[in-house]
Amino acid sequence: MSTTSDETKAPRVASGASTAAGPRRRRSLGGYLFMPVVLGLVLLFTYLAVSRRDLSPTESSRLAFDYIVAKTVEHLELTIASTVLVLVIAIPVGILLTRSFSRAITPAAIAVFNIGQAVPTIGLLFIFAITWSIGFVPVVVALTAYTTLPVLRNTMVGLTQVDASVIESARGMGMTKLAVLTRIELPLAVPVIMAGLRTALTINVGTATLATFVGAGALGELIVSGFSDVSPFITIVAGILVAVLALIVDYLAGIAEDVLRPRGL
């Protein structure tokens, strides 16, 4: 369920070079630096390619630094807003659906969230455009509908995989149900929940490119303008930018995973 793990690709550098991360560190310093360096190089080459090329007027307006930054910010806003919404929905619902009192409705609830993921986001966006509205909010809603399921499912898997004997001993020592949830079950489920969140984030970065079709801008606008202006160059650069953004977000989520994973696991 987890996305590409860069620890496998990372070259092993002798540890002990850095003491900054302390015992929580899961990778060597080299492992942490590998991805940023690669992404930095990709951006550098892209920048060089753009600056050396003889740009047409449309190309130079589309590939202007300020314009790209503005579109990237829009893109990130969509991604972050939808991911926060996913967290706010999926984690509490996941918790509720794994409590003993809700066992009966769990399959039905999962089915509802399944629909969200089964409907193509682009279709959802057009339905919203016709029946409701266009712009930022409908895009966030569509992205949220699409990526709630992986986080919800991981929350539930993370909570249910906690060893029953651990929960029994916690209850047996007189911890309340709420204390067992917050101090035992959730910390132990964090790695799995985080993996789901990482998946959702990466999907959202990619899917947010569709926002341009309903007037919410973002980097998709750049990709599409490559078609309308018949400039494959713009499309390629925009595609690289989206891919790099997705990888950066994934990289940061990976660090968050390492930091939040409880010690002893």
């Binding site: 060893d163 651990v166 047996g172 007189g174 309340t176 002893g264």
Partner: protein, 408 residues
């Protein structure tokens, strides 16, 4: 129900009123939804203060359900539970559980918490001060034979099975509960470690004198660990509730006799401990002594060998005249003879002692005290005599009755 006075629960072992009964189960029953037969049917039993009471029976007899009703992990369908005279059937179960130690077979340590934090669980729930918790954690780790400096900051996955089990016991004792519930606590541990942990636990219990309900399906463990054994048949009906001695000597019915199984004489050896039998003395010398001194000792005694002790009186070697003859005159006694194996402590059972002798191929076992200093000797004749006297006692009780199995 009677009003709940649990807030001022007596913490100390010296109970003001309850007398000698710690736990009373009254007509306790459990029916699980969707099952025709109750899992536990109308169980009434009294558990004396400071004793280990074993619930033993075939699987599915309801022994675990019974135990879990005492701290209400499983809520009884009917009946009442009294803890030290107080009806706890309806009190807040979370509050109740903080007064009862709980150890399960899988231990269930919290993998994301350090050993110290695992042990500190209940003290934290009770709102103890930090320093008090920290002191208590160190004290408990020492009590179960683990060095606090080395282990308090480790995580459960870094411990062996035996160490986890010790931490589980330490955690259950953290708030010094009067009552502990143990559900096959040694069940998932290899036989050698299990034996050691059982002995350690019995030694610990001599100091802490908790009231312990201990569930097992292993009659040998029951005989070894129990002050009293309740042998349960299906639905937790008590087939016999008595001391191990009386159960072995006088099983109430065929079910009990079957459950004890054959080899009852050998099992009886698990009931007698080294400290209960008379120790023989043996000629001993310090390891610095001269060969002449050994010769003199051997001439003066009827034994064929002497036991060599070190300066702390710990046994080192067995040396006989033959060994001396073969060695050059000045050779130290500690370099001669046979190793002093088969060493037991006074709380070892005769069954363990016999085992030690057999594996060392000696006919004697050396008894040492807790600092491993020499106390005396148990020999195979002593063990033989004990078996014989136990059997005589049994036959006396059976009043010349029928054909009790004459094994061994």
């Amino acid at each position: 129900m009677t009003d709940t006075q649990d807030t001022a629960a007596p913490e100390s072992g010296a109970a003001p009123d309850g007398g000698t009964i710690e736990i009373r189960l009254e007509g306790l029953a459990k029916r699980f939804p969707g099952q025709r037969e109750p899992a536990v049917d109308d169980l009434t039993m009294e558990i004396p203060k400071g004793e280990i009471v074993i619930l033993v029976g075939p699987s599915g007899c309801g022994k675990t359900t019974t135990m879990k009703m005492i701290n209400r992990i499983i809520e009884p369908s009917s009946g009442r539970i009294f803890l030290d005279g107080e009806d706890v059937t309806k009190v807040n179960p979370d509050q109740l559980r903080r007064r009862i130690g709980y150890v399960i077979q899988q231990i269930g340590l919290f993998p994301h918490l350090s050993i110290a934090n695992n042990i500190a669980t209940v003290p934290k729930l009770l709102g103890w001060k930090k320093e008090r918790i920290s002191e208590r954690v160190d004290e408990l780790l020492e009590m179960v034979g683990m060095d606090p400096g080395q282990y308090r900051n480790r995580y459960p996955k870094e411990l062996s099975g035996g160490q986890r089990q010790r931490v589980g016991v330490a955690r259950a004792m953290s708030a010094d509960p009067d009552v502990m519930l143990m559900d096959e606590p040694f069940g998932a541990i290899d036989p050698i470690t299990r034996d050691r942990l059982q002995n350690e636990f019995l030694r610990l219990q001599e100091q802490i004198k908790k009231t312990i309900i201990f569930v097992t399906h292993d009659i040998d463990e029951a005989i070894k660990m129990g002050d009293r054994i309740a042998i349960l048949r299906e639905q937790s009906h008590i087939a016999q509730f008595d001391t191990p001695e009386r159960i072995l000597v006088n099983p109430a019915d065929d079910f009990v006799a079957d459950f004890i199984g054959r080899g009852a004489s050998l099992k009886r050896l698990s009931l007698s401990r080294v400290r209960d039998v008379e120790l023989h003395q043996w000629p001993t010398v310090e390891q610095g002594a001269s060969h002449d001194e050994v010769h003199r000792l051997l001439e003066d005694s009827d034994k064929s060998a002497v036991l060599v002790l070190d300066s702390e009186r710990r046994p080192v070697k067995w040396v006989n005249a033959d060994h001396l003859r073969r060695a050059s005159d000045g050779k130290a006694l500690s370099e001669l003879g046979l190793p002093a194996e088969a060493v037991v402590q006074p709380n070892a059972t005769l069954s363990d002692t016999l085992n030690e002798m057999l594996s060392a191929r000696y006919s004697t076992a050396i008894v040492v005290d807790s600092s491993n200093a020499y106390q005396g000797i148990v020999d195979i004749d002593t063990i033989n005599e004990t078996v014989r006297s136990l059997r005589r006692a049994e036959q006396g009780r059976l009043r010349g009755g029928d054909d009790e199995d004459e094994d061994s």
